[in-house]
Symmetry: C2
Subunit: 489 residues, 2 copies
């Protein structure tokens, strides 16, 4: 590959040169959603972050096998080893079969991801579809002595494992501290130590999702699915494992222990973690009333939102921060993002009309700055700074305040479009519906006609225009700034 | 439920009153696609047929659990018990992991289904995600003596089964004939009888998709997945099993034998089969060169196609025939369907502008005719005849040749929209995603406004529309067929 990429590896706590295990092939695993409710910002950030990384790896020429799972079983409330399964609980509340719940929210999730222009992974495995692989891995861990059976459940023995392999390296936790912690959760009396975690849980009689196993009719612990599925599709050792920082401990720490404890090998070369999202400076939480679904952002239908924000505004907003930093959502920030995004998209409309107007600007340094930023741990805010430099250049050339020759104009177009559309994955609008200039222009004719009709108090005509448009799914929105339109999909 | 539905049950070879096992809840299983290539007409017909049935059951008030599987393992070439796995072969050819092949074609399949306005099922289980359930069912069949193990593979013993339960009832095959048939396929020497079928196949060393089982590392036979997954999600006995007539034998016959052979109960109350598709009077086949993918229909990019046909034209075309009859695709037929569909959609545009104009038409008989047709084994061509009756009425009222009061106009709107949009699942355009579609629709609004203005002799407005459009480079062309438009670049 021509690019020298550096990535911040959570495991080593430093930036490292990215060298894939198999030269031109990259294996990447990213923890996907537990689908028991509508997708929210906490789903959107890792999706967008690792989408950009995936797009960049493809762009520089790697063949990427990108595995992103769907958790449809085993994820218990409070992310702990006791309590009700999140999906089974929702199924009970909604009076659906658990797999109906998963299907319902998977459809919404895929729809939301498409709106955010997040490319689908190359494999999207489900936890419930890999019970055998999980049981096999638990058997291996038991055989190696790093787990024990208690009342039909199987637990990972952290103390025993830590005698042979260091536990806690990824998260930086001291195993002594973990082992000395007193038990804080009920229903975990079967564990020898509170640091131990479930690999298999015996199902209580009322538990719906259950499979036979050598130990009990039960279900896998939450952590084992990712180890089993990453091993199956990417091998015992693969390049990149991504996910939110909230998953670092215990989830990812447990993944390492499970892989080492079964196959003897540390599974992941580069651990990448995106940081968390806050809303108006506060942690997002259902109990705090600041939990905003993606569809609520897209419609503006939430008490904390002053307006609707398009999926592209959300995406752009996320790219304005480096993935390793926290990100605070506020109406001010989102409105600023909307303006910034529009400046870029407007500049593109100008760009495609530009003609060479003389000798002057040199685009090569800007292009190099874009690659340098992406190579530096996928630093999208720096890429955006270079893109805004190009926006200024485009507007100056348009006004004949700067000059560009044919070669540089071609380079400007290529660089701008490659980074804005291909790598950052921005697009002209949330849906492709409003994208073309011609649609916009025809709509403006209609909007003008309606304005004239209203001015002439011909409300039959102005209403007729609105009704005609409603029939084809186009909604008009009047505001002080004028009339905008959108297409209901 | 208020409607008295009759369905043609393949099992009894007659129409029967539809009475679900659990009063208001309906369980429906439909055989989904084996995803190793782009979806074609053979995928579209059962999808559309059972979509309409699903929509009608929902409309009349049933709560429907609709399970439609995705076959991602075990479907061997020639639909037989020997040969390479269809997906594994494609994976080898495309140099992908089998699950990457499945993901690739699942995405296209879902996209195509959405274009056809086919509602997603409430559960979409995958064969590879239910290996344990399949193994359990094979164990039950073995325990009951209706199967035998040979070299790590397990086969269903048709002769033995037939001594206790009749085999062949669904397809009308005589078991004596089946048993006396000589072996025609190689690689099946393990079978006691050529009528026997594989429940579990031992994997050859190079076979990628494999799981441990009590008999061998291997993979399930093709038929067992549907039995295992329908039992899991719908119970041992459920209401409707659908699929193409090509699956009647051996697939569905084997499903019955597997369910009876394991749980002792005939699984399905009503077996519904859609008939086959021909192209220009010939069977569709890859070797015949008349294999047209759905995307090829949508783009018109196939030597046999004279033009592109929208997904809605394809859907409409299919609804013009009863699902139990064969359907021949031809350019003539599709063009006629396109015209018919447009007549209906145009009539709807008129319908929503209609105002009561006096006493006259009685819509109640038309409404009743629509329900009667749907109740009669979902007879969509008869429903369409009634819809065309409504089209005539709409156009006559529009021209003041017929008269309608407010009550009947409301009934006309409700009946028309319920059957056209909600039940038959037609919609105004193939997709609202492409820019040309939306431009077209917006332009049609303008063209309609101009037409209305001209009719009202408001030439100031009609000229204003023409001038506004000219300013943005859009030229209108009036002809006897109507007004078309083009953009000058």
């Amino acid at each position: 590959m021509t690019q020298n990429i550096q990535v911040y590896n959570t495991l080593s706590r430093k930036k490292e040169k990215f060298v894939p295990i198999n030269k031109s092939h990259v294996g990447m695993y990213v923890c996907g959603p537990t689908l028991y409710g509508p997708p929210h910002l906490g789903h959107a950030r890792p999706s967008v972050v690792f989408d950009v990384i995936y797009r960049y790896l493809l762009h520089v020429g790697y063949k990427v096998r990108y595995v992103k799972n769907i958790t449809d079983v085993g994820h218990l409330e409070n992310d702990a080893d006791a309590g009700e399964d999140k999906i089974a609980k929702k199924a009970r509340v909604e009076q659906l079969e658990p797999m109906e719940v998963v299907q319902k929210y998977t459809l919404i999730y895929h729809e939301n991801m498409a709106k955010l222009n997040v490319l689908p992974p190359t494999i999207e495995p489900r936890a419930s579809g890999h019970i055998i692989e999980q049981i096999n891995m638990v058997e291996e861990i038991l055989k190696n002595g790093y787990a024990y059976v208690a009342n039909g459940s199987v637990y990972f023995d952290v103390e025993k494992y830590n005698q042979d392999h260091p536990y806690g390296q990824l998260s930086g936790r001291k195993v002594e501290d973990l082992l000395s912690e007193t038990r804080t959760l009920d229903g975990q009396e079967e564990k020898r130590n509170s640091a131990d975690f479930a690999l298999w849980k015996k199902a209580s009689p009322e538990h719906i999702m259950r499979w036979p196993s050598p130990w009990s009719d039960g279900f896998p612990g939450w952590h084992i699915e990712c180890s089993a599925m990453s091993t199956k599709y990417l091998g015992q050792e693969f390049d990149i494992h991504g996910g939110g920082m909230d998953l670092l401990f215990p989830h990812h720490e447990c993944e390492i222990a499970q892989s080492v404890g079964s196959g003897g090998k540390a599974p992941v070369k580069y651990w990448l973690h995106n940081n968390m999202i806050t809303i108006n400076g506060k942690k997002m939480g259902k109990s705090l009333g600041n939990f905003i679904n993606l569809d609520e952002f897209f419609s503006g239908n939430h008490k904390l939102l002053e307006q609707a924000y398009s999926a592209m505004t959300i995406r752009f907003f996320m790219l304005q921060a480096h993935y390793g930093g926290t990100l605070d959502f506020s109406n001010e920030g989102l409105k600023a993002a909307e303006k910034g995004l529009n400046r870029i998209l407007d500049a593109h409309k100008v760009l495609i009309t530009l003609k060479p107007n003389g000798e002057g600007v040199d685009i090569q340094p800007t292009k190099e700055a874009c690659y340098k930023a992406m190579n530096d741990d996928f630093n999208t805010p720096i890429v955006l700074a270079s893109i805004f430099d190009m926006v200024k250049i485009i507007n100056s050339i348009h006004k004949n305040l700067q000059f560009i020759n044919e070669k540089n104009l071609t380079l400007l177009k290529t660089t701008f479009e490659t980074f804005v559309f291909e790598i950052l994955g921005l697009k002209n609008s949330e849906t492709k519906n409003t994208s073309t200039d011609i649609s916009n222009e025809i709509m403006n004719v209609l909007i003008d006609l309606r304005k004239e009709a209203k001015r002439a108090k011909n409300f039959t005509l102005s209403d007729s225009i609105r009704d005609h448009l409603a029939k084809i799914g186009v909604t008009l929105k009047d505001s002080r700034e004028g009339t905008s339109w959108e297409v209901k999909s």
